[in-house]
Structure formats: structure tokens, C-alpha cells
Amino acid sequence: MSAVDQLQHDVLVIGGGGAGLRAAIAVAQEHPDLSIGIVSKVYPMRSHTVAAEGGMAAVIKDNDSAEDHIYDTISGSDWLADQDAVEMFVAEAPRELIQLEHWGCPWSREATGHVAVRPFGGMKLQRTWFATDKTGFHVLHSLFQTCLQFPSITRYDEWFATKLLVDDGRCQGCTAIELRTGQLRPIYAKAVIIATGGFGRIFPFTTNGAIKTGDGLAMAYRAGVALKDMEFVQYHPTGLPGTGILITEASRGEGGVLRNNKGERYLADYDLGEPLPLDDPRHPQLRTMELGPRDRLSQAFIKEQEKGNTYSGTYGDYVHLDIQHLGEHRIDTKLPFVRELARNYGGIDPVKESIPVRPVVHYMMGGIDTDIEAATSLPGLYAAGECACVSINGANRLGSNSLTELVVFGARAGRNAANFAHTSDPAAVDRLTSQVDGERDRIRRILEQPSGGDRVAELRREMTSTMEEGAGIYRTQEGIEQTYATLSDLRERFGGVDLDDRTNVYNTDLISALELDYMLDISLALAASARDRTESRGSHQRTDHPERDDDQFLKHSLAMRGDDGTPEVSFRDVVITKWPPGSRTYGSTDQAKAAKTES
């Protein structure tokens, strides 16, 4: 390939979701002289940020304070969040949300013209900004449309990144397949930002779209960067059975309640406070009952299931989410998408019936190990968004903190990568050619593998089902080890994977195989981390180790890829600034306050 059509940028962003777009705009605005590339395997506005419904947290109202948001986030994380990161996150959040507002995000408004806020699970005050119940959709389209105005941004839409290029201890670009032609090409850069989103697709039942396969994590992992806190998988308590489509937490924020098959508001039995009658003006109470954190609500479902208090249906057991008492008008103005989804995919109208729901894999707290500056241990490589783990989410993310994380850390990653690029030499193209050739060979081998092996879909099915069995809401040593063994076996079998499609143009069969390859790596890292954390904290519940163990495990797990491809797990202390670990109390704001003043 001649030097003319060599693809080269100052900063390369892999991922065109909320985090990637925010990062790219940060570079473009602050350093108009830098050239930026955005590689995305789907057109950016298809990224899964589009599916986020409920809202985005930031302190804006007079009755709220940064202290409160910090405390909610830290206690929600079961004290596994790094407190310096949370403090910074909460401090920068309002400015970032106002920035989105100035870029046209159609936030829902109060009569005065100020942005409106709504209550959300685990938050003591109303601080979640929303654009009806299509917040992520509006945020993503606002960011995408805003990014169109910057001439310094070049997009590589429908290019699939496969590998990071590293030389001299510095990340200098990636290789990517242009789907339209099937060509693998290097894209060189002085600094790289990974913003490839989460990886819910390693589980069979998830709110995550097809593209959430954790490619970016695997690329960083293979380049020698650690994956942090991988064992923490968030189950959202209210997914539609069958499809896994999410019914947003905002439905509970607006006053919706959960009932078991006896019609009881069963959360009252799980230390989440006392239920108030639905006509009580104080309902719904913050940090109480239905507005408890997601890990606790999903765990309560399993307990109810064990007691036989759930309904059973074609797609497994479920409970009822009831929003009928909100009335048609409120549902149509605040939760129109919930009504649309329940009607289309659940076959029921929530104005007249309860919505069947069950816990569903939703969000990954773990990810690429970064520091508070969004930098990884590999110079020149940054990560932001759901693929990264700073960590502000610890053992359980609070709803509506994630979208905020995208813009706060996306912007940071952008600024820092830009500064790094400013002072760095261009990529050492000559020295990287052999890596590019090696990657081309790897992919060609998969493409040209003789037939006879397993199909991609079959291996994927086995992987997701073993993840659900061993690494679900409740885990045991034995179960996890079994899952780990199954995954290792699948890893072997992947070597002989048999493709139906051996052509070049839009070979989605090949892309699925590459995604599966990445998912197997990160599933193994997840299983190893879950095996080694012998305590229960937040979303990681070990029935054989039911207690939280701060002496041993007030630590982040770090999975590194060993030479033979197997993960090696070590631990690193959590950063504590002002909030020593306390017990996570939910039930009433007073209790929470008491817990806070005690600590």
C-alpha cells in the first residue's frame, strides 16, 4: 500500500457511542489542529447508547448537593468505587450535562423552562435529567449530529477494529476491517481511545444489543492491559421475559411497584423499607422499596422464585411491574416508550395491566483498567464509557450514572489523548507492518479454516448458557469452576470454527466469529475474577461466601492475560478519601442519613 492512502491520525477513537463521540468532540474543540479518526463497527447513531431510556444523573437543583450524589454513588457501589474518581465525576457532571443541553439535547422541562429531574433507584434526591424515556437516544443523536460540524473528524463507519498496534511500549493505532470491502487496514495514530461499550452479549438474556460484544476489552487485554472488577455484572430487575427488552427504572421512579404472584409488594421482606400506600403523597420514597439499588432488587427476585412466589411463563418466571395507578396521561407524557415497548413486545397495555418482568443482564461494572484521567497502563492508550473501569461504579452501578460517565470520562479521555498526541512522534509505521501482516494471517486462517468444526452460533450458544449457569446472580465455587472449564473447552473448539460465508463484502459471519473470539477471552477473565473473589459484595453474590469481607477484598480485581491466554488475577486497594466503608442501608432517607453521619 502506498504512503498516499495510508490512514493516519493524531487521535484515533474506537467506538462511536456516547463515550467515543464525546471524546472526539473534546479533541476537535480543544485542539482544532489535530486530526481525529472515529472507527465504529456500526454507524455511530446505531450504537447502543441509543437504547438508554431513563436518564442521566447530575446535581443541578438547589436542594441537592455534590456530597449527596457522591455518597449515593459510593454506598451504591458497596464501597468498591474509588472515591477520588467519584468526587471528580460528581463535580464535572453538571457542566457536561449543560454542555449536552447546549448541543441541543431535548431535555424534558419544568414550566419555568429549567430542565426537569426525576427520582431514580439508589438516589436520595431527584437528580436524574431525562428526555422523556428516550434519554440515550436523544443524547446519542445530539452528540452525533454535533460531531458532523467538525472538519477535523474523519469517520470510519462500519469498520470493525480487530487489534491494537503497539510498538516501543506505546499504542500507535489499530487494524480494522472495512466491512464494505472486507479489507483489513492499519489506521495509525499517536494516541488511541477505546470506547467500545459493554459486553452483555456474553449472557443469553440481556438488554444489550447485538453489538455489545466487548471487542475493545479483548483488544486491550491482548495488548497487556488489565481488566478490572470483571466479576461485577449488573442484572436489571425489570426486563421483558423472552426478548430481554428493558423496562426503564424510571417507571419505578414515577411510582411503579413490583408485586409477586400473591399481589404482595414483596420487596418489603428484603430490608428495603416499608411500602407506602400508592395514594400516599410521599410515594415513591427515595432509596426505599422499588427505588432500592438494582443488585438488591434482582437478588430479591431470586429469593421470591425460590419461595414459589413468582409467576411462570414460556420464557421463565416473572413478577409484575404495575404502573396502572399512574394513569394514562402521566404514562403517555413521562413513559411513552415503556408503553410502546410493553404493547409491541410484551403484548400488554400497561395502562390497563401489569407488565411481566424478570431480572436481565444489563450493565458491566468491570472493564479496561483506567485511572482517573482515563489513561490505561499502556502509554498512548485511553479508555472511556462502559468498556472502561475507573472505577466509579464499584460493585454496583446506580442507574443514570452511566450516561453521565460517558460524557465526563469521554471528555477527559479526549483532552488527555489530545495532549499526549501533541507531544508524541507519529506512529512507527515501518516497524508495525509485521504486526499488521500477522493480524491479516490470523483472520485469514479463520476465514479459510477447512469445514468440519463447530458453527459460530453453536459455540456462542454454549458460551452464553454456561455464563448464565455459573456466573449469574448467585454464584458458587463449584459453579464458577465448571463454567471456567466449559469456557476453556470452547476456546479450544473455537480454533476449528467453521464459517458458512467465505466472501469479502459485508461478511457478518466472519465478524460474528471474531466477536465470539473476543467474548471467550473476556468471559474467561470474568469467570476467573468471580472465582477468586471469595466474598459477596454488590452484584457479586457467592452463596458459599455470603458476607462482605473488607479485610481481604476492599480491593479491585485485576485480570491480566497470561502467555498461554489464561487469565491471572491480582488485587489492588480501593481509593478511600472521606467515606470509610459502612453498611448499605436502604429503607428511608433518614436511615441513609444516619448511616452517613455515623461514618
Binding site: 454507524y43 437504547a51 448541543w103 423552562g113 437516544f137 454535533t146 426478548t243 427488552i245 458453527r455
Partner: protein, 252 residues
């Protein structure tokens, strides 16, 4: 649930590869499930029968806009088209018309991306550079309501596949992009009406639309692009006469 004999539905799927002279239709038998959408059937085919079938999808909840296709001749989101509506079959699935087809159901979106960019779909402000981000721009709920509907577009492009004008004029900016232009023009935070004027009013802009209205009929998000274009025409016409008859009322 499992009946002795499964009901099967026939699918006739459009297949095309760049080195073929002609597209063909391939027939697949897919088991019928009451709660399945066409996308589920395509995934079933890809996972169990033919991994080479090529189409786009991601969210499978009608919000990412990837999965548009012609289902029995009508533009649909395949993730929102229930098999039950097409019984007993056969169900014919083809790529969206009025676009180039790259392969199977995958169409070329580059033309649309250029049109989208051409209408400058972003907030334009005179104070843009000096913005201090101290507080939000105020906007009342009714000001918000004025453009809200036009901000719901997921860029699925079903409207282009329904539009006879788009079919005959590659240059026509088309329903979705024009609706987005109108979305920004109606936003009280925006000051870019003048900047967008030329693109919207040029030959390939709103005046090429002959108000067939089918774009609004097929839009899965009730954006009503036809309405947006008509409203823009109305504003454009009033503006024209105002410039002609009362030039002193127009800011230069």
C-alpha cells in the same frame, strides 16, 4: 407449548452479492412463533440454516434504526414486524428500495449521510464560542413541544423507501433529513435558520416534495416528515412574500 407438528412459514429472502449478475430470492422454512418478529426469523436462518445471510441489526427494540427492509413490499423495521401479521406467508424480505444494495439486505447509506450533514443538523448560536456552560438555556415545555416530534427520527430510512420522489431523484434531500432541518429551525435554542435556508430552499430541498405523504405513513416513530416539509414550505412561502412585499421587515 411444543406442538407435535410445528407450523412453518416460508421466507423468500432477497440475495445479492457483488459478483453476481442478478439478485435471486432464496427460500427458507422457519418455524412459526407467535411472538417472533421478522428479525427473529432472519436470526434463526443465520444461526441454524445459512450463516451467509447478510443484514443489519442491533437493538431489536425499534430504536437503533438498523434493521429496515421491505417486508412483503412495504418498508418496515424487521424488529417490529410480527410474523403473525403476515400469516400464512410466504413472507418476502428485500432490501429497502431507492438505495443501492451492497449485499443481500444491506444498502448503501452514504448518500443519506451526506444529505444529513448538508442540512447542518446541530445547534447554531452566535455566542457558541463564548459559551460558559454555567446554566442551561431556558426552554418552556410548549417551546419544547414545538419541535419534539421531529427530533424522534431514528434514521431508519423507511421514509426514503416509501418516497416516489426519492426514487426518481437521487439528489432530493428527502424526508428524514428535511424533518431534522425543521427540528433545529423550530428549536428556540437555535439561531441557524438563515444558514440552513439555502439548502432547504434549493431545488433538491422542500420544493421537490410533491406531498405524497407515504413517508409519514411508514414512519415507525411518528415523526411525520411530510408534515415537517409542508410546514417548511409554508414558512418558506410566507418568508418569500414578506421579502418581496415588506423588505423592511426582514433582517439583513
Amino acid at each position: 407449548m411444543s406442538t407435535a407438528i410445528e407450523t412453518m412459514v416460508k421466507f423468500e429472502v432477497f440475495r445479492y452479492q457483488p459478483d453476481w449478475d442478478e439478485p435471486t430470492y432464496q427460500v427458507y422454512d422457519v418455524p412459526y412463533r407467535e411472538d417472533w418478529v421478522v428479525l427473529d426469523a432472519l436470526n434463526y436462518i443465520k444461526d441454524t440454516i445459512d450463516g451467509s445471510l447478510t443484514y443489519r441489526w442491533s437493538c431489536r427494540m425499534g430504536v437503533c434504526g438498523s434493521c429496515g427492509a421491505m417486508v412483503n413490499g412495504y418498508p418496515k423495521l424487521t424488529c417490529a414486524a410480527f410474523l403473525s401479521e403476515y400469516l400464512p406467508g410466504p413472507i418476502r424480505v428485500e432490501p429497502l428500495v431507492n438505495f443501492n444494495v451492497e449485499r443481500d439486505l444491506v444498502t448503501d447509506l452514504e448518500g443519506f449521510m451526506e444529505k444529513l450533514e448538508s442540512v447542518q443538523p446541530w445547534i447554531i448560536r452566535e455566542d457558541g464560542a463564548t459559551d460558559d456552560l454555567k446554566s442551561e438555556y431556558l426552554q418552556t415545555p410548549s417551546q419544547h413541544a414545538a419541535y419534539q416530534q421531529f427530533s424522534m427520527c431514528i434514521n431508519c430510512l423507511l421514509c426514503y423507501a416509501a418516497c416516489p420522489v426519492s426514487s426518481h431523484s437521487e439528489e432530493f434531500i428527502g424526508p428524514a433529513a428535511l424533518a431534522l432541518a425543521q427540528r433545529y429551525n423550530l428549536d428556540t435554542r437555535d439561531e441557524g435558520v438563515e444558514q440552513r435556508r439555502d439548502v432547504i430552499l434549493k431545488d433538491e430541498g422542500i420544493w421537490e416534495c410533491s406531498f405524497v405523504g407515504e413517508c409519514s405513513a411508514v414512519c415507525p416513530k411518528h415523526v411525520d416528515p411530510a408534515g415537517a416539509i409542508q410546514q417548511a414550505k409554508m414558512t418558506g412561502a410566507i418568508d418569500y412574500y414578506r421579502r418581496l412585499l415588506m423588505p423592511w421587515t426582514v433582517k439583513s
